[in-house]
Amino acid sequence: MALSIFKQTFSLLRSSSLTNVFCSSERSYRLAAYRSRRKFKTERRPFHYVPKGHPVLPPDGKYTTEPLTYIRSGGRDLNGKVVNAKIGGGPKVNWYMRDDHYPEAEETQGLEEKVLRIHPDPIRTAHLALVGTGNHKRYIIAHQNMKEGDIIKTNRDIPTISVRAMEGNSHPLGALPMGTIVHNIEKIPGEGGRVCRAGGASAQVLRKVGDKVILRLPSKHEIALSFNCMATVGQVSNSGHDDIPWKGVGEKMSAGYRPRTGWHHRKTGYHGKKIKPKRTFIVKPTPPKYETYKLSGD
């Protein structure tokens, strides 16, 4: 299924001039394609194709802990036309730059960081944690049992004996024992965490085969990654955010979801005026498949 979608997009883009883009996932490739295409004719797109909004990044391009403005798309395309009508509205929120990259650490010692503040993220499902060392502060994903005042370590060593995994610490996958629960995993070493960043997500290390480590993702797929990919131990915070049901349409509208339209929906036999009469079912006695004999009890 995924391969076919990839081939479709690739064939569509052959005509347009797309710059060389290196993406680690199909989703990031589709987003880059969406941004590079500029068509005058719009098409309706599914829900997850259109981004909900984008932040206003600083002109320096450097990392800041200050809150930035977040501009909502409203379901609009780059041309300004409505591409998805189920997105619109919502509160004005601040967008915090979350650092998913793993810092460089010294050999054998590692890098120690202290947790300063924990608060929920207005746009994402996972909570944010302010963390600092020396003269540098940054925001990271908070795991389930995080408290203010904890100390977190990052180590880039791969010893022969597996490391005792403590919650919050980050190690390469080759150093972790089998059965550990892990989040914020890198697919390509040095790229930054990509997998398991949402609230309550976690992956499990199953076994090691040769030069690769096999993980089970929350979608129950299995993936093989290299030893040098970094990951943090533990489960992401805010695991019960899906269990709370919506109270009604008003709560959804105030959060940024619009009601569904009747445009381009699949019509089934339920839709429309019922002209045909109802089918009458006749029950006939069916003959038995085998001959039956009555046996006298003795």
Binding site: G132, T133, K137
Partner: protein
Amino acid sequence: MRITRQLFVSRKKRIKFLMDKLTYKDLPLNAPALSDVEVVKLTGRPEPGQKQRKPLPPELADDPRFYVPPKGEEKKNYRETPAFLYNRNCRFIEGTKQACFLTKSVRYDGMPESVQQLIDKFEVPDESRLVQKAILKSQIWDSTREKLPKRRDPEYPRYKIDREYGIPLEKRLNMLSFDLLRMADTAVASQYPEIGRSRRLIFYPNGMATFFKYSDSLLSFYLGIDAAITSTSPLPPFVPEELVESSSSEAIPSLYPISPTIDFLKTNNYNLKNSIGFSEISCKFPHTLILLNNDDWSEDERQARALVTAMGLAVAQVKKTYPGIKDRLPTPISVQVINMSETTMNFTYFQLNTIDFDNSEAGVKNFVWFDTGNVLFERRLPQPWKRDKILGTSLENLDLDPFKKLLATVGNCAELEDSSTQFKEKLIEL
């Protein structure tokens, strides 16, 4: 520069305007000969290779519409080594713990003994009536009517409260605080009338700045103060010298793995400056500083800000009186700071004994006294979803203890400045 109509007109129209103004005087008199000129075919259609527009004449060099500000490296302030800047808006993330580690100071809660003895010494007649008058003047009686910022109550954040009009926060703070200061000044002057000559009350002084080295990095402080009381004679230390020497054995809690300069701004564009801000002719010693808290910070962060401003001013004074000193001072310098918000007052008392801030373990330490959470009155805002009968803000629970503490701090060491007592003592000696 005289702004003409030409600047506010688009580029094409500007050129057309100039070309229309050409007269026979602007044309050249000497035309070239036909043999020197190349004959060119003039057709309306452009040649097949050229699809671009013709190049227009160059723009003005000083056009303000296309002004590009210089980058950090092109400014005059650029230095190669970076420095850490402190400002009034620097919010310490660990609060007073971080400030105590920076200033190498031992922490005490409460007021020092020399100040606590002065609480009931100074009196104001009709104290409660005058304090209530000052509060009501700033909260209700003033006739300004401006748009106040939107309010959201944390108890029920989805409820949209109506827009309110009234007195803004800055004005409320200034009126209350300066009224109380003047009352304190008169109360102290009734017993020691020579204060009128030996002291000075300055509103919004500016120019206070220092800089020094801290563990292979430059720190520069630019302090913002709202009011200051200065005097001709310096404040004596709060504590005798025996305790100062014994403080070398006490320990300060560490901040590992954070450094205290985590909230400072790191830049390559900075200016280093060392100045007190007051005049150097008269009243050059600081007595008390007053900071007005316009922000929604916690009390811990406000006290940390007060500590760092006191430290900055004391270090600026030390650099002028003892230019080459590095370690311990011969006489310690003491500064008082009052933090005022709408309803609460905080006091800090700082005594500087050393300048060696690098070593946090060895050597003599400085002293700090914190007195936080003195509530003058409570301000209850309306909550319309509760169907209370109170529609406006209500002021409750007046407490006069913080006002008495204010009198004690302002009247600290007024005897030494009073020259009449010095004259009497000299007479007794004779």
